[in-house]
């Protein structure tokens, strides 16, 4: 039984099916297919997909409530702002951007690493950083497997066989290069990379699961080259170029006899036996509103961070986290991403900003994570600095300098003048978990079925706000050298605001670790004390580094599938004893 047919659910379902198990995948949204849902004749529709959020979960079906701290009353997010959760087969992977980083080796033992480098007392009390309980050597093959499924394009710098120029020198050592070569680059990333290189940095093409050439993956599914259409992030791809479960896994999986997909079926909870030590199946509601109980030998929950945690809270799995006592694990260590940027206005440049793709671009990693010395800086963490022009459909992409009126003739002139000559450098930075940031069930607001919504209590920590200032300052140095007419730095400042889009990289709440008192799953994504229940996704991240999550979500899905088929099936029970 697999709950959710996005990236994680589809990968695991396929692994279990290939091991001979009968698998039922239950998905709350529709079955999505490129030809019918993302047709080239109608997919270039900004109003429908970006403004009206066609592919996203409808908040009428399910949303979250939010507040910055426990003294406030959480209110529902009625329209998606800060993040854009998905729905239907492929999940958020249909409308994602496709940037596909691996986390660095130190990330998997971040707490130990920082204590070792900066001293046992160096981590402030406001941060609840943890080790993952796994390591690079265990993760690397699974990253490799995910990149091969997705056809990820890029250039490796650090191969077992030796170093090569042009890739990201901060990457952990890899067995293989990327499956497809880097994408061609538009003007703004090229300009950025040239400047960064002059300053002594090492720019590299952003690793991207938008394939650069025709590619057939190990499941025999073929993808076509990205055409830089610029209707990418928040849209589905009409070219079979953007990797998602529907373009890489499900076309093969759905043809296998021992797999069945039930769509428009929303899982309400995981059922357990009387002492709660064994999952017995799930309860779901179908599109006609009928409830079904489906027994299962193994339950895998892969319903994206929010719903993974909500289903666990609703099913009474683990103890709910309490920030006052810092006890409990379900809902613990919720974290986000600290998104910073610098906007550059030029007079003499034409970037043709409509040419773009969610993950085309150039980046540098000198200011990311622990790639620079943090001694005396008063913060930890950092960000991935990059220029990734995603396209410029004009309901949303109309940059004008601050102070420009929002309508009228001056507005029109400024809009025309700046449309093609403005670019932006982003710095997608880490977000380190804190005891005050957590997920719980909302006491007031309920979904259409009368069940409590998930409540987010979150704000940026001092650590992250200091980090944001520092990394944005570094980006400003590069931006200055590019010599724009005007430059607007936007380091992230508090409080967390649910309105503007920042990223859908919500992580934690059901985290991975070595100790059942501070984590929910072991390194095989197996729930402590409920050995036939696996909860997979970014919910397992103990904190969020300065990278996008999905490379790691995919790797964890392969890791869980591998553990279940190679170890659990032979010896069903706890794979790690405590």
């Amino acid at each position: 039984m697999v709950v959710g047919l996005g990236w994680a659910g589809a990968i695991i379902a396929n692994g279990l099916v290939d091991a001979g198990l009968s698998v039922v995948g239950v998905e709350r949204g529709p079955w999505r297919d490129t030809a019918k849902d993302f047709n080239i004749a109608s997919v270039t529709d900004e109003l429908r997909y970006s403004q009206r959020q066609e592919l996203m979960l409808r908040t009428a079906q399910n949303t979250i409530t939010m507040r910055n701290n426990p003294s406030q009353t959480a209110l529902p997010m009625r329209k998606w702002g800060s993040f854009h959760p998905g729905n239907g087969t492929g999940g958020a992977g249909n409308h994602w951007a496709g940037i596909t980083f691996r986390f660095q080796p130190e990330e998997f033992h971040l707490r130990s690493h920082l204590e070792e480098r900066y001293g046992a007392d160096s981590i402030p009390d406001e941060l609840s950083l943890q080790d993952w309980g796994t390591d690079w050597n265990e993760m690397e093959p699974h990253y490799d497997a995910f990149e091969k499924i997705a056809g990820t394009s890029g250039r490796a710098a650090n191969l077992i066989s030796g170093r090569q120029a042009g890739g990201n020198p901060f990457e952990g050592v890899r067995a293989n290069d990327y499956p497809t070569p880097p994408l061609k680059q538009p003007y703004s990333p090229t300009l950025f990379a040239d400047t960064a290189r002059e300053m002594g940095y090492k720019p590299f093409p952003v690793p991207s699961s938008l394939v650069s050439q025709t590619y057939t993956n190990p499941l025999g599914v073929t993808m076509g080259p990205c055409t830089f259409c610029g209707f990418c992030t928040n849209y589905g791809c009409a070219n079979y170029s953007k990797a998602s479960a529907i373009t890489t896994v499900l076309p093969a999986l759905i043809r296998k006899d021992n797999f069945e997909a039930r769509t428009h079926c929303e899982v309400l909870r995981v059922t357990t036996d009387s002492d709660g030590r064994r999952a017995t199946g799930i309860v779901y509601v179908d599109s006609a509103g009928r409830q079904w109980e489906q027994p299962a030998e193994i339950v895998v929950v892969a319903a994206f961070t929010f719903e993974n945690v909500r289903l666990m809270l609703m099913s009474g799995i683990g103890e709910a986290y309490d920030p006052a006592t810092r006890r409990g694990t379900t809902g613990r260590n919720y974290a986000y991403q600290t998104a910073n940027s610098v906007q550059l206005f030029f007079d003499d440049k034409n970037f043709n900003p409509f040419i773009g793709a969610g993950a085309v671009g150039m980046g540098i990693d000198e200011f990311n994570n622990d790639n620079f010395d943090h001694s005396g800086l008063g913060f930890f963490g950092g960000g991935s600095t990059r220029v990734t022009p995603i396209g410029a459909a004009p309901i949303q992409a109309r940059p004008t300098p601050p102070g420009t009126p929002r309508w009228g003739s001056q507005w029109k002139r400024a809009t025309v003048d700046n449309y093609a000559s403005t670019m932006s450098i982003g710095c997608e930075a880490s977000n380190y978990s804190s005891p005050n940031n957590y997920l719980s069930l909302d006491p007031t607001y309920r979904d259409r079925l009368g069940r409590p919504l998930l409540r987010i209590t979150f704000d940026f920590t001092d650590n992250d706000l200091k980090m944001a200032q520092y990394v944005t300052g570094k980006v400003v140095e590069i931006a200055k050298r590019m010599n724009p007419r005007q430059m607007i730095p936007s380091p992230r400042t508090g409080p967390w605001d649910g309105r503007p889009y920042q990223s859908s990289h919500v992580v934690g709440g059901f985290i991975m670790g070595v100790d059942p008192s501070t984590s929910s799953v072991n390194k095989y994504l197996q729930v402590w004390d409920v050995p036939n229940l696996f909860v997979v996704g970014a919910s397992a991240f103990p904190q969020n580094p300065g990278y996008n999550p999905t490379g790691t979500v995919g790797a964890l899905a392969f890791k869980a599938a591998d553990a279940i088929t190679k170890h659990y099936l032979r010896n069903p029970g706890e794979m790690i004893s405590t």
């Binding site: 209110l75 538009p186 309105r499």
Partner: protein, 167 residues
Amino acid sequence: MSGKEAGCAVFIDRQLAGPYGDFERLYMHGPFQDGIPQQGDQSPLTPRQRYRIGLAALNDHCRNELGAPFADLSEEQRDRVLSQLEADEIKLDDIDTPLFFEAILQNTMEGFFADPIYGGNRDMASWRMLGFPGARYDYRDYIERHNEDLGLEPVSIAGRSDWNTQG
């Protein structure tokens, strides 16, 4: 070209008549309460109600203060009223002024810049103005032509008028 000439009013009418008009897809359960700004729009009013209440209140205001409904004011007067709405200097009956103003601004911009299939952006006027080529899907031959005016004519999801040749 003004928003009206571009078809923004037609656009807004059609949007309000469809699923957007009553926020059919959005979470509209109470209790409705004002929060902190970062919690976003918490109004129980649907777009249709925002326009119905807001337009009536605006006309009341204009009649009382300026002697004529909004549509009959001079262009200068209308601009002044809009600026006052934007600055929240006019109090409207039964609706928060910013809620009403922001709906109008957002929907007008949507109409002006969306694909013409929705009734606004007539003749792709806004896209021509910006140099946005519209519903194209393949820039492989252009991506490495840097810092160049590519001179691409826009095209809509419904095509382009000069494609409709007789034959």
